[in-house]
Symmetry: D2
Subunit: 246 residues, 4 copies
Amino acid sequence: MNKIKENDIILIHTPRKRYITRVESGKSFSTHVGNILLKDLVGLEYGSAFESYFIYRPDLNDIILHGLKRKTQVIYPKEAGYIVTKLNLKNGSKVFECGTGNGALSLFFLRAIGPDGMLYTYEKEEEFHLNAKKNIEMFGQFQNVKMFRQEIGQGIEEKDFDAAFLDFRDSCQYLPLMKSILKPGAPLGMIMPTTNQISLAIRVLERYFKDIEIIEIMLRKYKANPDRLRPEDIMVGHTGYLVFAR
Amino acid sequence: MNKIKENDIILIHTPRKRYITRVESGKSFSTHVGNILLKDLVGLEYGSAFESYFIYRPDLNDIILHGLKRKTQVIYPKEAGYIVTKLNLKNGSKVFECGTGNGALSLFFLRAIGPDGMLYTYEKEEEFHLNAKKNIEMFGQFQNVKMFRQEIGQGIEEKDFDAAFLDFRDSCQYLPLMKSILKPGAPLGMIMPTTNQISLAIRVLERYFKDIEIIEIMLRKYKANPDRLRPEDIMVGHTGYLVFAR
Amino acid sequence: MNKIKENDIILIHTPRKRYITRVESGKSFSTHVGNILLKDLVGLEYGSAFESYFIYRPDLNDIILHGLKRKTQVIYPKEAGYIVTKLNLKNGSKVFECGTGNGALSLFFLRAIGPDGMLYTYEKEEEFHLNAKKNIEMFGQFQNVKMFRQEIGQGIEEKDFDAAFLDFRDSCQYLPLMKSILKPGAPLGMIMPTTNQISLAIRVLERYFKDIEIIEIMLRKYKANPDRLRPEDIMVGHTGYLVFAR
Amino acid sequence: MNKIKENDIILIHTPRKRYITRVESGKSFSTHVGNILLKDLVGLEYGSAFESYFIYRPDLNDIILHGLKRKTQVIYPKEAGYIVTKLNLKNGSKVFECGTGNGALSLFFLRAIGPDGMLYTYEKEEEFHLNAKKNIEMFGQFQNVKMFRQEIGQGIEEKDFDAAFLDFRDSCQYLPLMKSILKPGAPLGMIMPTTNQISLAIRVLERYFKDIEIIEIMLRKYKANPDRLRPEDIMVGHTGYLVFAR
């Protein structure tokens, strides 16, 4: 049960580069080192070497960074893990998301809401919607998500959500709508790149929600050299500010 | 179904302080403002005001910060969310943890592994073990955890784990043991407060694992004042370094 | 010439606390440990122990943190050093400052502009002005500073400044005035606590100045334990944003 | 007196790129936009436009980032300003430095020690020594520096220094030597890239010095857009740890 099977999603790992693919026996996969006939991997144990590669089960980090097809910016794991916690997601949660974007955060949500949860995700751009659909079909539990290509100003078919998350430019004008579809007291989250948006968000949130929290998360990587331990020279300086309320 | 019921775990929220308690009708609960007869809360809707309080469903942040009984340091949500992602936890995962500590991270793991997962958590200190047991009984899914008051040097009854996490002082000497109980290629995580431990961990990991990642996560809070937006004066400067490998 | 003399400013150092005082033989100085007759210190070498203390020449950090009389917030060394660099201060520079505050930044400027420079510093609050005067008389080169208790809206007697620095709430409305008193192309700096002020400052600066730079500086301290090296648990999360233009 | 003169060091500023050069009338200077005959600049006022450029007096930041010839890593202004403060440099200070490197920190020191100070700087690599000499001749006060191409293990000709700064790989073994050339109680600074070096430094410092401080400084730049204010996406994650003692 720890063997690579047909149709598995795998991580092909080299010191320099990583690749995500589905194991389809009829196909080959090309890396910067050379070509792999995917049928040669079937039956190998996860974690084992194959030629100059190691083959792992990918985690969501790997998938978001190396597997996801991108049409727009992704939400990074450093934020996603915290968002899941603040939205209090667990098996059975019913979550609202807008916009779907590439579906990166949708994948985190689908994990967190388990087999009994349901994600409703809205995206107005057809290109993003279709791309996210492919990503979630490939990497997520598709039976637990309803994907809409639709502006939320046209109405949302469901209500009584356990949590909601907004990631689009003019999200502040939909905060009264969010209040109406969330269970009373349920958490709302938003991500926004600029301080101006944060100021606006606070002003609107103060009218409809309570317990406003604004944070940013900085992740710093270290070089894994035991005798010369030090942070990497360059780091991500900003992805976005996170806002939560309930 | 959004009403407060007998035996619910609730968050009693005031601008200045927060409290977590179980709703037991026979009892009263005292805050810095005064006393609440808990039976008065039953039947109220979540999110509604009661006297000078607001009553919410607590999220894991609330529980860890305000509800957990502490005998030792806790792992904070900023790290926990990232750990769950890097350990690739999802419904059905079988996870190993040592030491249990207060059970804070156990609660995050229990959420992530869903109804079909199983957590095996070891703690050698009886005091911590018993305290964590109470915390997990109160705030987690107790049916999905096996708690051991035992040093792991004496052997671990299970194997083929999907992931393992270590948080204790001399964890580096148990890395070969971890290798033997994890599925090949499965992820391992550790948290350590000092750079000296990180250097040692890398040296040992290099012999048994691959794909070593070392990071630290900094969380910065902002004051929710829309006209005077700025970070808080004081922030947490360090909790621990995170180490991952597989 | 490395001996403590009458009237020297000294740092009295204990592991737990630090004190700044002037050596006046007639006086005694009380610390949390006990009383020191200051005449007993005269003739001792700097760096030597006296009872349970060590006596050092204080640096500007020591003076700002432990010696300055404070009536308002101070600017910290982490910012001051960078400001001096960006204002391009050197022996002979003529600098404008408003407001004087406690005089902390004035002390940094006085060091940087050397024996041939001149600092013009304005403060509208009499209480701050008088307090800063005492601080600069005690710790700075008083012959190189002209201190004004005056609003700058009433006019500034000098022009052709090599640099200017503003630290007061409505500083943005004086940017045209700054333009008129600075040499063409000379640097201007500002410190502001909130992002709203930064947005406003950029808007005004864009009309009168070029080459706008906005930064923040974070300083993180480590515990000096060689076997357990780690950052301190708590750090300063925010002092202010720095703005520069020319 | 604010006019560009023959032999001035100037900053040629474009939105995309910056250049430092000396105004030598006989020469031309080529930028990514085109060629400038330097004699055309003589007599222009600083801060004024010339074709598509603006011409400024460069500050030390400009010089270090755009003017210095580099053979090795430079020390950045965010650290240099703080170092000058902690070493308590002022007009008349006698400072020891090793190694000279590119001379970047030497330039900061020369500014800080004014017309009456003296810097002694040692560099064992001839290539670095000669390069730094050129940099300091061009951008500093050369009469206040004595530059040695020499290992300090062979002895240092001066003593009674007011401050010392070390920036080279095996600096820890010279700490007893530093103790002997510094005035008692005088400050010592070091910069080191790795945590392992910091641990070693603390161990040695504890034998010879007191009041050990270890810090790191992080500088975060913001995009100067008033309506979309946010940090830059990428930032410097690490330059080095600073160590001070006395």
